[in-house]
Symmetry: C2
Subunit: 461 residues, 2 copies
Amino acid sequence: MSLSYDEYLLSNRDTHLADLKTFLSFPSISALSEHKPDVKRCAEFVASHLTEIGFEHATLMPTAGNPVVYADWLHADGAPTVLVYGHYDVQPVDPLPLWKSPPFEPEIRENRIYARGATDDKGQVFMHFKAFEALFKTNGTLPVNVKFCIEGEEEIGCLHLPDFLAENREKLRADVLMISDSSILGPNQPAICYGLRGLAGLEIHVRTANTDLHSGMFGGGVPNANHALAQILASLHTPDQRVTVEGFYDKVEALTPEERDSYEKLEIDPEDIMKSLDMTALVGEPSYTYLERVWTRPTLEINGMYGGFQGEGTKTVIPCEAHAKITCRLVPNQDPREIQRLVARHVEKCAPDGAQVEVELADAGRPYVTPFEHPAIQLAAKAYEDAYGVPCAFTRMGGSIPIVEDFDKLLRIPVVMMGFGLPDENLHAPNEHFSLENFDKGIRTLCWYYLGLPNALSNPS
Amino acid sequence: MSLSYDEYLLSNRDTHLADLKTFLSFPSISALSEHKPDVKRCAEFVASHLTEIGFEHATLMPTAGNPVVYADWLHADGAPTVLVYGHYDVQPVDPLPLWKSPPFEPEIRENRIYARGATDDKGQVFMHFKAFEALFKTNGTLPVNVKFCIEGEEEIGCLHLPDFLAENREKLRADVLMISDSSILGPNQPAICYGLRGLAGLEIHVRTANTDLHSGMFGGGVPNANHALAQILASLHTPDQRVTVEGFYDKVEALTPEERDSYEKLEIDPEDIMKSLDMTALVGEPSYTYLERVWTRPTLEINGMYGGFQGEGTKTVIPCEAHAKITCRLVPNQDPREIQRLVARHVEKCAPDGAQVEVELADAGRPYVTPFEHPAIQLAAKAYEDAYGVPCAFTRMGGSIPIVEDFDKLLRIPVVMMGFGLPDENLHAPNEHFSLENFDKGIRTLCWYYLGLPNALSNPS
């Protein structure tokens, strides 16, 4: 072997950054229709760049919206196949005056590259391009088979990706799904996220009469929709915020001791959270730590509630309707449809006399976890450790990434979320940027990972 | 005595109705500044009409807003003094297209007079004019001393009357306050209202953090303002809607057996209320009838509550603030300020961990009751019975009339609310009208009452 990937990356860094700048200079804002041509030109750049590197079949596959860029390299006989997901579209840039350099004229300051899309997600997608390029250039081949699926509608909710995936299920078949569209915990604290909570939404509509009533004339003798709703909502939690819905926790998987150990190392000081958010107390399920509560425990949150008069001053009305919006965060193995049913049953059961309650089911997304001990996950952690020189943290995310659920449902393969962003890189905000330290380390992490993957997957732990 | 008041009223009915039409034709809409001149002209009409009848000192007394028409006749030596309150201003008329005849061109159809202000309150005020006129014409004198206080801002909340009353307390001093600005129970069911509930308002503001939070990132670990508020609000009532606030009922006067008997005769069929309002249940304090609940029992109503997301669809937010607006209806001898303090203490005491609660005090109005057995009340009932030929009902109103409280506070005299409207006469709505049957009977009721008043008040029961 003439050249290591490390040496190759070092000696070609300037070219790579120049290419990244080109990628970042397309104003591929999917939310704004006037940028439709820019979105297309950006997709074309991705396809041609992938061809340039050595990938085959690079095409803009049409969807009902923006095209998906597909490319592959499938000549690693007997080796596993990796599907790399990412997106080339970006968020809008307003308020523009707050940007120190124009969002589509990438500028490097203090070893960070500033541009819309730098960290979300062009910069991270581009690292995979360069990792594979380095492996091609230094080995003449890749250790794994590779398929790219780089979409153009992530910032508008992946509108057409689920259909695209369903239609191209065979074409996209792989052994591992790789996503780099998230953050590590800090500049020197790499982390691999192996789980996301799911979502189950509902709306509660309470009606008590066919009209609002005057509290002077009727007060004391008729039901009040606000009273009924408050009673229903208050019945959903114990004082320490455990959900009281019957069966809610029945299918929740217990954490393994390894997971709890791993979180314990990361545990955040509650005082810090309280101080930064001006809170007088943190609340949550007893016998779980803060991180366990927000990453691994299911929740039920009243996102909105309203009934009656909200204007200035006093209005002596007995409201005849009141409403609440609720979402539950779910963890394995909770089923969103089942949880919706359980919550609906609870609400209907505890509706007080005179309250006519309607429960409307809303969003539903499955929780996702790639088993902690899966070799694709454990290898990712080792890859980080090799590049960063410190042990990698194992995390889950409290939020949902619906697209992960879509992939999981269709392909049933482990999902490796190796992010390289930092939490404060202003994604979706002015002055978005990406640390070039993580860009450099990240490409090496990926090279190390891809090189190790065939062996890891062939030796089940 | 040459002529009875009854004969006089009969033979002058056409002239009286013509005068009433003139009174009703002034568009004295206090809410609309373009009608300021009409309001003034209407006040001038009232003053000159009172002079014509035989009253003295008729003047437009200025306030910071519309003038109060004052007039008196104080020559009944040794007899009690009656202060007659009413208002010459009216509500706006929109939506105009729904009126069958123009609102300021009074028209008589089926023995009802249609015009804005017909029942609220010009028609009822005018009955006092005609009652006194009839007594003047038939007796040459009045049995009581009389003071008129007819204001022009009732429909905009009696903006300047409290100041006016405070400044003219001595001038307005009287033994009985007479108000005809309400309804009887039905065409042949006269009623005397002797009590009004008071009001105590508060707003609750709950804060849990300095910003809304993402339920994916923070859910399960931090307080939610909606949860806290729902818990507080649900704690305010027992399931059967008794108020749980400590001390809330401590000063509530028990009903007398006579009062309960009197209400029992009027008791409404709960099925009728439920049917007309599409309710599945009536709720209220056990061991009180419907009318007792809405007339004589204190209440606490959540008039409004809101927190978090109210838009379409789902937003996975943990709201950092939530708000509620509350009013209590009060009965003798509850003190609004004390009730506000009790509720505030309850709210603060039961605020859950992490909830920073602020209670803001709002409107406060004292409950008012002229003792049921007061001769001025009992006489009013007899006057109705004489004119209508059926026993009079004794009622209270669940609502508040702040002006009654103002009069009561300043003058400390019994308030006699003798209304002659009907519940369905469209006050504040298109096609407002006033039954001429009640107009005719009402004037006779008032004549009978005023003639009997000196004797009733001189013989304490």
